[in-house]
Subunit: 384 residues, 2 copies
């Protein structure tokens, strides 16, 4: 068996996004112990920089040592006890995955459904809360990775709190890409991934928990069903002041990478990063529209970092994506769930969100689809 | 905030061990998509090389996308259903953690206790099985990381099977360091870590499941309580023949590292790797004994890769370890649980298992403890 040398790719799918060489280089630094004083100091820096990324002062702000799916699970298994009523807003694949998590945590899931491609309707949430006054938790996806839709997290959270509910929010695709303010918006348990707009490698899930969430977790009647994700134990390892208690062996080198990604976010500043995503999204949009392709999500709630493009008539999904991959090393995403075969998902996340990638993608689509005008339209946008 | 540059360390604790530069370099190769055809081919190679490492033909042999603690949990949450009786053999910290996993999976844990520092007693397991004929699963730790003790996995597994039980085995510290034969010994659900004798970075947990285990998981009455660790779903992503179904985003770069570590294991060959661990253990032992230090575990079941050394009279544990770290960049492990303050754990795992490290450690101990003779004794061993 030989060493693996990955082919050259440009990652413009729904994540992972391209990883900056600084981050890759940081990950390749020599491993040190997970209880080494130097490592513990680095953990504190990661926590502090994640607080900035999430715009929160929550002391329980940590990267879960596993991918975003485990970050999701950490929110549900810690906050939900057997029999708890949870309202889950579902407008795509990841709302459905939230429901699975409620059920597997022993909770009762009350679903608030909206069409895929549309945001969560606050009025429906309000109605569901009125109909189910004993609900304790509301869960929704801020930025639906399966459709490219942004929901109004601030409004949904206000409604939930008005009904004395805690809020679980999926920010896997939103963190770093669009405005997200955990404290101002009152989000109680929030998870994300490293491989989207933070442009780090996949494998960690930054998460943050409000005081109210931590109180609920500390006061549980029963132990959290997952030992690995039990925040009562994780607080001992990640806790700010107490002596660090061994819980599990942290993924040391992956954390080097996240640390570097967060240093880079601090250099760029969060608002500039949000603006960069919007700026290149508009360049991509100009080109796609010139090609006669349409973004299926209404402009009012369209994610800049994840563009859901309707498949044109008579074009074979898999053939186009295979040609982009083979001829250009360019990965764009297929549709997921009920969107499979109906859309492409073109990501402009983190390091992938750059004028050179917008132009590469548009030029490749011009060529593969046999159409014209995209480069010209995008050039007009960028030169204006 | 500045980039993190780890201090130089030699890792001779209970893991992580030193990571070979080839592995660190592999991890820093550019990230590609988790559904990229080239990545899927690499996943197949990882599976096949893990089969070799575990000496198994189990098709369900995969790295769980999280540290060893999650690998442990994946075995318990998949195999145990509410009310299942599980016999857990406990002779250290990790047997206790297994008990936690049984309870949190809704099972009933019947404990078979042995003294810390001694192996699991097969007769006690036999007695417990006779007293509890409705037991379905037996769990034990092959190599106890908290004490440095090897248990007789083959015999324990035979006894369990004679009573129609499935076997869960913790091989976190044994995989790659001592003989381990999953198929020959009939182990049904086995997990390990990457950061011990495989000498890879921490963050993944290689696991393997026998046909009998997979049958039990497929035939469950209730869904696995963890969505992230549900093997019924993971089989869709890692499955050999079927179309790969997206489950979670794999930690792409961590898997590059594991792939390279397994390529290196194939180059060295498993038996040579076991022998190397034994060889340098004997060099270390010669030196430690010359210093008047004693290995607390009886030679008959002493792990070569993890040496539990009794703390000498009048020596302060933390002071010695701090001096080793500060003056030599050398990390050795403290005692864990009831062994805290009573032993040091000196690891000779994977890349750390080398004559230069044996000599460095012995020389540093000579100096810090103000004793003599270790280098001389180890030289005699190596030169013989």
């Amino acid at each position: 068996m030989q060493s693996f040398n990955p082919p050259r790719r440009i990652l413009m799918g729904p994540g992972p996004s391209d990883v900056h060489p600084r981050i890759l280089e940081a990950m390749s630094r020599p491993t040190i112990g997970h209880l080494d004083p130097a490592f513990v100091d680095m953990m504190d820096e990661v926590k502090s920089m994640l607080q900035y990324a999430y715009q929160t002062e929550n002391s329980m702000t940590i990267p879960v040592s596993a991918p975003g799916s485990a970050g999701m699970e950490s929110c549900f298994v810690n906050l939900i006890e057997s029999g708890d009523k949870v309202i889950v807003c579902r407008n795509g694949v990841f709302g459905g995955r939230m429901m699975e998590n409620v059920l597997r945590s022993g909770g009762e899931a009350i679903m608030v459904d909206d069409n895929w491609g549309e945001p969560v309707d606050p009025q429906k949430l309000e109605d569901a809360l009125k109909a189910n006054p004993d609900t304790g938790v509301v869960a929704f996806v801020h930025a639906e990775t399966s459709t490219g839709v942004l929901s109004d997290a601030k409004t949904l959270s206000e409604i939930a709190h008005a009904h004395d509910c805690l809020v679980i929010a999926d920010t896997v695709t939103s963190l770093g890409g669009v405005e997200l303010r955990v404290d101002d918006w009152g989000l109680d348990a929030v998870y994300s991934g490293t491989q989207k707009c933070l442009s780090c490698t996949p494998g960690l899930s930054p998460a943050t928990f409000s005081e109210a969430a931590v109180d609920k977790i500390r006061g549980r009647k029963n132990a959290v069903q997952s030992w690995f994700l039990d925040l009562n134990l994780l607080m001992g390892y990640w806790g700010q002041n107490a002596k660090r208690a061994y819980h599990h062996t942290a993924p040391v080198n992956a954390l080097y990478g996240l640390h570097e990604a967060l240093v880079m976010l601090g250099e760029e500043r969060l608002e500039s990063c949000w603006e960069r995503h919007r700026y290149h999204h508009l360049g991509l949009r100009a080109g796609l529209e010139a090609l006669g392709l349409s973004l299926i999500v209404d402009e009012a709630y369209r994610l800049p970092q994840l563009n859901a493009v309707g498949l044109p008539e008579g074009v074979d999904d898999a053939t186009v994506r295979a040609r982009l991959l083979q001829q250009y090393g360019l990965e764009i995403g297929a549709g997921l769930g009920e969107m499979a075969g109906r859309i492409w998902r073109i990501g402009l996340m983190g390091e992938s969100c750059h004028q050179r990638n917008v132009m590469l993608c548009l030029g490749a689509l011009e060529s593969v689809l046999g159409r014209t005008g995209a480069i010209e339209a995008a050039s007009r946008y960028y030169d204006a």
